[in-house]
Symmetry: C2
Subunit: 243 residues, 2 copies
Amino acid sequence: MALRYIGQKAAQQIDEELMSAAGAFSIDQLMELAGLSCAQALAKSFPVKTHARVLVCCGPGNQGGDGLVAARHLHHFSYNPTIYYPKPGGKDLYQRLLKQARNLGIPVVDTEGFPASLEGADVVMDAIFGFSFHPPVRAPFDKVLTALAESSKPILSVDIPSGWGVEEGRQRLTNTQGEEVATIDPEVLISLTAPKEGSRNYTGKHWLGGRFVPDDLAKRYELNLPEYPGVDQVVELPPSGKL
Amino acid sequence: MALRYIGQKAAQQIDEELMSAAGAFSIDQLMELAGLSCAQALAKSFPVKTHARVLVCCGPGNQGGDGLVAARHLHHFSYNPTIYYPKPGGKDLYQRLLKQARNLGIPVVDTEGFPASLEGADVVMDAIFGFSFHPPVRAPFDKVLTALAESSKPILSVDIPSGWGVEEGRQRLTNTQGEEVATIDPEVLISLTAPKEGSRNYTGKHWLGGRFVPDDLAKRYELNLPEYPGVDQVVELPPSGKL
């Protein structure tokens, strides 16, 4: 049975079901597990000995929250993360996650500090846009995506490479002024709960995270999820997505 | 530097600090990570091929919550957990964790169902009493501890073997009627955040979980924590506790 690639609507519905009264998960729980899986995927792709300096780029929404959690776990995995978080989300949860990271001494930089942080990084975690993204790309992320695309630093993207369509996949992008924004091509991708339509033709290293999806939910959405190994929170997918 | 064994007061203070405004953790986050580490310790001690049937005994407090989380992760690790939860805590969190487990089809039994569940188990997770326990042992856990002690099933205890003094260690116990309660001797122990005074002379397999303790907190409490391997949430301690 082939793994299912889901669209934006199914991705939203799965999240809503998990956090509904019936699903009973809190966002704190799910974000903790999602962020932990992102950190594990990075650690399994880029060894700490060669890639200790990780620039974690966090967007304003839930995916930015996953990035904040991942940065904290990367610190505990002996990496030296730096967080770029130019548009902190208003939710109390994001503020707490940011504080947890600051309590570990993880540097948090703004757009002014971004270029030097990118220059000093061994690898970038892209937790900017998730499955709710719609173009055009809003500032400051237009310049950030172009800088990432033009950089030689390897990128691990969370859920869908930022700027790619969650269903359309790799696409040409513009900012709100109609200026071109470069498209990133991450070396590594970690899909959360199930891979998205837009990653169907992605050919890099591909992880799946979200070892919390209830069996009956996976069955109803016909996700055909692979088995995770051992006690890991991630499983590597074959490039084709065929299992 | 030797690992520090902490007393009840330090254990309580560490928990309070983590969840204070300064520490910024929610109980949902910490319980998720603690329960995941318990599930990992069990999986690393009792392989699923020989010990798939796990009876997770949950007490009325936070340690019972850790057990509920662990049962859910054990299910995702391909174990067949059963939850014994005779005195569900009143907190909304416990109700949600129980619902998450029920949503996976994990059986939940009461005291009437306990003997058959113990009989059918390959291994027991003891998440009954944590570092706030004070004797005597209240019903129905007096009979439960005696049944566990008299059973030949291997036990993994969470934080401190239930009934042991968090500082005093292995001790003779009575129930509220002054009747003797048997003392359990778990094959495996997982200490959370730091080992407790009462486990100093524990000689079984000993794991440490809680890969979220901030460095400065560990330093202030002189915990001298060991390094965790790879992306695991647990690290095995030498029997003596010396590192």
